[in-house]
């Protein structure tokens, strides 16, 4: 009986050790697979965003997005043709998706491509409350200037294209955050800042 228990224990230990070793070897193979899943997920999301951008009702109109120019320290306008929804909340979502999608002219991005929009609310006084996913805090270009440009890229783009939006309030994962990356105070509402937009001739 005693001997059997011993054999059983050894057998279990051997199986466990083999299992752990197998998992360790697997881990090396798993990593690239995860990366490729992420990549395909990102592609899928972009496609989905593109569909959301184009399939909304209404007439196609020219909108202006403001993307950060980290080299120039200002915001660069970029126009797009978009069927902007007549529903303001959907329209806010469309503009945010277009910003997440990024510049077609190679300017900087305000939000990481993996950011998703959790919710959008519009208050009666014209404050768009934008609830972004945790990814909004990732991949930031560091510094006061960069953080300021990223925030105002969103605020200026929303306020310029949707007249009902006067100010923007940011939430991350449904919570108020002090800053995105340690510099710009995010606890208040943001009014647009046209002085950051690069002057075109």
């Amino acid at each position: 009986m005693h001997r059997r228990a011993l054999i059983l224990t050894i057998a279990v230990a051997v199986i466990l050790a083999a299992g752990i070793y197998y998992l360790m070897t697997l881990r090396r193979h798993i990593t690239p697979t995860v990366e490729s899943t992420l990549r395909s997920e990102q592609t899928a999301r972009t496609q989905l965003n593109e569909e959301a951008l184009q399939q909304s009702g209404g007439q196609a109109q020219i909108i202006t997005l403001y993307f950060p120019s980290y080299a120039g320290g200002n915001l660069l306008p970029e126009t797009r043709s978009l069927k902007l929804s007549s529903d303001n909340i959907k329209a806010v979502r469309q503009i945010l998706l277009a910003l997440i999608e990024g510049s077609h002219q190679g300017h900087g991005t305000a939000l990481s491509p993996s950011t998703s929009i959790r919710a959008v609310f519009l208050s009666q006084d014209g404050t768009a409350i934008v609830d972004l996913s945790q990814e909004a805090l990732a991949d930031f270009r560091p510094g006061i200037e960069s953080e300021s440009l990223a925030v105002y890229s969103i605020v200026d783009s929303l306020c310029a294209n949707i007249t009902q939006v006067k100010e923007v309030k940011f939430l991350v994962q449904g919570q108020e955050v002090q800053t995105l990356d340690g510099h710009i105070d995010l606890t208040g509402n943001f009014a647009p800042e046209p002085s950051l937009i690069a002057q075109t001739h």
Binding site: A71, G143, I144, E145, D185, A191
Partner: protein, 507 residues
Amino acid sequence: MKPLVKHDNRKVRSFRWLSLVAAIGTLLLSVPRLGRSDSFVFYFPKSRSILQTRNYGDAQYLPVLQTLNLFGTVESLKSRRRSLELYFNSTQIRLQQDNPVVRVNNGRVKLAQPVRFIDGQWMVPVDFVTTVLPTVVNQTVEYQRGENRIFVGGIRPNSFTLHLSPLQEGAQLTIQFTEQVNLRTAAQNGKWILYLGNNPVEPIESNFEFRNPYVSQVKFDDHDGLPKLIVTPSAPGFDFYPKLGEGRKVLVANIMQPGATVAQQAPVPAEPAAPTLPAPATPPPATATGGLTPMAVPNLSLPAVVLDAGHGGSDIGAQGKGGLLEKNLTVQLADQVRKTLQATGRYRVVLTRTGDVNVGFDQRAAEANIAHPLAFISFHAGDLGPSTPRVMVYSYRPSSPLAMTPGPDPQQLFINWEKVQLRFMNQSNRLAQGLQQDLQRTTKVASTPPMEAPVRVLQSIAAPAVAIEVGSLTPDGNSAALTNPAFQQEIGDAVVAAIARLQGGQP
């Protein structure tokens, strides 16, 4: 019988609890912990550099990228979640977190302790400098276990022996050096400091304790890269007469009762060829508790300037190529500006962060507001585009005009914490403009006008407040210009000029 059984049960239960607590305690104690940081000096033939080490458990660790950067440039860097691969001098070095084995090209070197990733930095145990470094940098590296200094490139360090003998009304300290020294003396905190010149010193023993009525301790120290002996008198009020003789290799110092004549001792003949020997230095008037020099005691009647080194602790801020972290750069900048401000003798400097620790925004503001400062300056580094170096100056502006109503008068006991900077916006803007002009004059790289932004750290400051951002500090850019002492000095000069201008009330 019953109560006895109960009693026994209680005993057993309490014993179980005790053993559980003891087991948890032992477990907690056995977990290696991050300890204090220390300075580690690298002596090169013509220069020296200082790095901060960290203690993890019993082992001392050095930041690997900063260490390699002292010897050259890291050519390429691939940092993964648990491993780091880099090329230095065409040598591939691979480190793996929690693994003592370092791969150098195709070879393996086993370090005394595993490699760690602490606070965003890859750290290697100190024996890395003798096991891996010499093969990678192709230079001789001398390091004595347990010491905080290494000698690179065949340097022959100075060393010394020390002897204390009694005199009639004092004591005589005789120090015999193996090489010539240049001597400079100073008095600080009731102690005498003998700076031994620029040549590195490797002491056989670092600490000498005496049971003598005149001298209690002589200690060797070079944690700031300056070799020196610190002489601690046993009581305050003695005079100190150091003299260098015998080809500048023997130092004789007499520690005397005040009023005792020096002529009655001083057996070492004066050496006329010792131009660096200053007049005898006496310690400052010391109090019963050891006393402080006037330099060490902040003069509270002077106006305060608060310097805020951004980020810190686990908040590393921006990261530059080669491992330069914003949290360390901001400390360097604040320190340089502190020195420049203090050198004027017109200001008292308050630092919101000393050391590598996390300090919250409100904690920084509280520290500043208690000092009622003339100005508050926060230091940051970040991505300011490809042209480097660049300097930007920021003052506070709320994110919405609706938040523009200032709070109550800040002179009142309770201030509106979130709105107090609104009262100082005009002064802050003036300070920012003046500072930008002065920076443009000194550094020639601050051509962009100052910006206004809802900078969080400035929001609750009850004083003219600005943030200075230097750049670019990014993983793909060259940030060497930002650590250049001349550049940092220029920033210090600009801050002094801007504060003087603010004080003078000029626009």
